[in-house]
Amino acid sequence: MQDHPEDNPPKEGVSRRSFLQGAGVAAAAAGISRLPAEALAEERAAADLKELGPGAGKITLNVNGGSKSASAPPSTTLLDFLRNDLGVTGPKRVCDRGSCGACTVLLDGQVVDSCSMLAVDAVGKEITTVEGIGTPDNLSHLQKAFIEKDALQCGFCTPGMVVTCTAMLKENPNPTRDEIRQGLSGNLCRCGTYQNIIEAVEHASRTGGK
């Protein structure tokens, strides 16, 4: 289990705790405000850990089954680290505040908005982007259904939609139409592909597969 990376620090990069200790109150307020600053200061004094940031440091992530490293400030979001530092451009930056789902990735199988978490918080977790779900030569069952049902137009929301629907089907292999609608509620599309996406998920669900 990787729920508590601070209990099992990775070999390189930073853990959530060490990052928080470095970034201090501002970062804590941004993401993880339940830890009061005083408690952090006490912990830092007790553990005698060195501060990280604001400068760049090496961050290593497990992305689509491979280990990838780059140097980035600890304030870097997971989305920006994937795109700008690792060149993984499937996840898109659209709203940049967790309301559109275009940046959706899987973190140990759970959907997250990668724009709204820090790269250092993903250390030690398995990250799956749309690139890790299937490739043009080896499409997943759902991706094939998306193609067959024309569940895309401009395609900019599609990576997030594919990741979300993949997780949805894993959790619930036989969703009802309403369950699919609810499952898609965190993902916006402007071209208007919702009905086609719903049909694609239903199709993939009916025919089973990956």
């Binding site: 451009t89 898109k92 193609i147 895309l152 401009c154 900019f156 599609t158 609608r181 208007g192 009905q195």
Partner: protein, 767 residues
């Protein structure tokens, strides 16, 4: 030079013959009896696999080596003049490579909306660029502002423009059948004439309708990534007009004045009319890259996109209509106002199209406000116009006690729409009883509305078709596919002509080094590009068959390609497959570049029609409106790919429902700033609110070009909000005159209805 041919035109099994003149080297439009192997098939998009795997690279995704990031400083004030900009501190910040002041480039020292560009920087990281923006010191001469049409129209309102510019300008005097000229006296005469017609009509109805500013909100923001290589600018642009974008970089009037420029838009994350221009962000990106000497990534963030990358103007439409007892519209008076931002153009509402509305007295005003500028937005002016016009149609029908659909038919002479009404009526269950659910809590209603469009395309496109000795086929056109399916349909047309499967044709699109193509505007891309592609494919095929005939001792004019092989017309297979035929070439390849005829041919109809019907359920306790179903009957000439066509229609309907129920730019009148410049407070329709959309496509042989295709991006959005509004009124027995139809407005309307019913049982309700 022209040739005369006889073709069949029509639809739904009803055809008539027409003799037309077509360009001498053009091919005959496909005929109803032709056995086509691909056209009319629902084939998946050729770029779908790239899009579902994240391998499709958009402008946003480009990362050339050494790339740095550009950012723009924007005015926090709604109306100000720039006194000074001090960038010294910013240019010494870590990582900063270039700094530009906007007034130096655009010769504009005013910031007339909150969000106007002031300065730009490029730095090694986004964080460094943002830090540098914060270090720029700007002195403003702040002036009073107005950000709503009402405020701007008031006497003594702050002046939005500079110099002698008035806040309100008349943008369209429409003189009607009597008219001509723009003189005020003529307008006054027309006004008096129409007033008399309406006054003397059996029944007159009137209303004031309002729609809100809608932002385009494409998911990929505006901008691009650019780099200079030996004086040549390479721009990966999120653009719906690659060649127009290039002109903005190279023309004499360009701020960039690049000697050469290549624009690349292989994938574009939506445009909806907002991405015709390179915009200030495009110009600033190119100039930052030039100054920094490295590639620059200059994409707007979501707030900037909402503030300054375009919108559909709002509208206030006052309409009055005079109708005869037997259902003829005799005369219509229209006054409308809208704000397209700091200018006045493009604020009109098309509330006088679609139907014959009799003698018309229409005056439109554009109203300057201190807000971000409008840009063409998917059927500019039409959805807001239809919202007013179609409610007037219902009100007039109710006024004379005529069925709402019959009244429309009576005032509509479009040959296609006449058929479409009954299809929509039947599929929505128009005549069914809709019992009230619960004790008067949930009511259902149906509404209908029409659309009209003009998308047969026109000149301005060429296509290059290349057939190689080893049997590879490629078609190229430099225009773009913004999600409409142009790339796929262009490939289908070429594959059809060559008797091949779609996957045997490679399609290259979105590259200005390739033959010229149109902007994706007016839904004309497909109607402009595909005839050129078919023509080039046809002539490449003839050249190949000449070679085959010569080598085999056959007669070229007797040969054609079908089912991947050469066959003799009227006889059958010659046992020579396409690949072996290509191998007979001496040269490496046949290449044919052909332009589309400049004009469309005479044909069945210059316009495409469309009728939509909506079924809604309104909760009288909460005021919530749910659109349960929309039937969209659409036509767009010859349907090449029903699946992608249907997707286009669904998309238009979804944006229309979103416009009807949710979308609204909210301005803070005191601060002068947009309050919902994001995607959580600016609501767009999500999956949970998506209605069932039943699309019916009519296949029309219109004869306008060799493919007879019309575009389908804009037509389907025209009618939707109007149909929803009419359905809500049908459900409630009271009309809502303002979009979006929010629960608050529904509850207010119900309260007024019930109050009115309490005092009298009068039926023809008005708020």
């Amino acid at each position: 030079m022209a040739q005369e041919i006889t073709i069949k035109v029509g639809f739904g099994g009803q055809f008539r013959e027409l003799t037309v003149r077509i360009q001498d080297d053009d091919v005959k439009p496909w005929q109803p009896e032709d056995r086509l192997h691909l056209i009319g098939d629902s084939l998946p998009r050729v770029d779908a696999a790239a899009k579902v795997t994240g391998t499709a690279k958009y402008a946003y995704d480009q990362q050339p080596a050494g790339m740095i990031y550009g950012k723009i400083l924007r005015s926090p004030h709604a109306n100000a003049d720039i006194v000074s900009i001090d960038t010294d501190k910013a240019s010494r910040m870590p990582g900063v490579k270039a700094v530009l002041k906007v007034p130096d480039i655009f010769e504009d020292k005013s910031a007339r909306y909150a969000g106007a560009e002031i300065a730009a920087v490029a730095a090694e990281t986004e964080a460094q660029a943002e830090a540098a923006l914060r270090a720029i010191e700007v002195e403003y001469d702040i002036k009073p502002h107005c950000v709503t049409v009402e405020d701007s129209r008031k006497e003594g309102a702050p002046q939005v423009g500079r110099g002698g510019q008035q806040n309100v300008a008349r943008i369209s005097p429409r003189m009607g059948r009597r008219g001509g000229g723009n003189g005020d006296s003529r307008l006054a005469r027309q006004e008096a004439a129409v007033k008399e017609i309406i006054d003397q009509a059996d029944v007159a109805v009137e209303g004031e309708f309002r729609t809100e500013v809608q932002t385009h909100a494409p998911l990929e923001t505006h901008g691009g990534v650019c780099t200079w290589e030996d004086g040549r600018l390479i721009f990966w642009a999120s653009s719906q007009a690659t060649f127009g974008f290039r002109n903005e970089m190279t023309s004499n009037w360009s701020r960039v004045k690049a000697k050469e420029c290549q624009v690349l838009s292989e994938y574009v994350g939506g445009g909806f009319g907002s991405k015709f221009s390179a915009g200030r962000e495009g110009v600033l990106g190119a100039l930052l890259s030039k100054e920094a000497g490295v590639p620059v990534h200059m994409m707007l963030n979501r707030s900037e996109e909402q503030l300054s990358a375009g919108n559909r103007p709002d509208s206030i439409q006052q309409m009055k209509m005079g109708v005869s007892k037997d259902g003829e519209i005799l005369g219509t008076r229209i006054r409308s106002w809208g704000t397209p931002g700091t200018g006045t153009g493009g604020a009109g509402a098309h509330n006088d199209g679609i139907y014959n509305i009799g003698e018309t007295d229409k005056i439109e005003y554009g109203v300057r406000t201190n807000t971000g500028g409008a840009r063409a937005h998917r059927a500019p002016g039409w959805p807001q116009g239809a919202f007013a016009l179609e409610q007037m149609m219902d009100m007039a029908a109710e006024g004379i006690g005529m069925d709402r659909v019959e009244f429309r038919k009576k005032n509509d002479d479009h040959p296609i729409r006449k058929v479409e009404y009954d299809i929509a009526k039947q599929r929505i269950g128009w005549d069914q009883k809709r019992p009230v659910k619960g004790p008067g809590i949930k009511r259902k209603g149906v509404g209908m509305a029409s659309n009209l469009w003009f998308s047969a395309g026109g000149g301005g496109a060429s296509a290059l078709v290349r057939i190689t000795k080893d049997g590879q086929v490629e078609v190229r056109n430099g225009s773009q596919d913004i999600g409409t399916g142009t790339r796929t349909v262009m490939g289908m047309v070429v594959a059809e002509e060559l008797g091949l499967d779609l996957d045997q044709v490679t399609t290259r699109i979105g590259n200005t080094d390739d033959p010229k193509g149109p902007a994706s505007g007016g839904s004309t891309t497909i109607g402009t590009v595909t005839p050129a592609a078919r023509l080039a494919a046809h002539h490449a095929k003839r050249q190949l068959l000449e070679i085959v005939a010569e080598r085999k001792g056959w007669i070229a004019s007797e040969l054609d390609l079908k089912d991947q092989e050469v066959y003799k017309v009227g006889e059958g297979s010659l046992n020579l497959n396409f690949k072996d035929a290509c191998a007979l070439m001496d040269d490496d390849a046949i290449e044919v570049l052909k332009g589309r005829p400049r004009r469309n041919y005479e044909g069945f109809s210059d316009t495409n029609a469309g009728v939509q019907a909506a079924l809604v359920e309104v909760d009288e306790e909460t005021g919530e409106v749910r659109v349960e179903k929309v039937v969209a009957v659409a036509d767009a000439g010859k349907i090449i790919n029903p699946m992608t066509s249907e997707s286009q229609v669904r998309g238009g309907v979804i944006q229309g429902v979103s416009f009807a129920l949710f979308e609204r730019r909210v301005m803070d009148r005191q601060k002068g700033r947009m309050l919902n410049d994001d995607l959580e407070n600016y609501k767009i329709l999500g999956a949970a609110d998506c209605p069932e959309i039943d699309v019916v496509l009519l296949d029309v042989y219109n004869g306008k070009s060799n493919t007879q295709v019309m575009g389908l991006g804009e037509p389907p959005i025209v009618a939707t909000a109007a149909a929803v509004a009419n359905a809500v009124s049908d459900a409630l027995g009271v009309r809502i005159y303002d979009l979006p139809i929010t629960p608050k407005k529904v509850l207010e309307a119900i309260a007024k209805r019930d109050a009115a019913r309490g005092t009298s049982e009068k039926k023809g309700e008005r708020l």
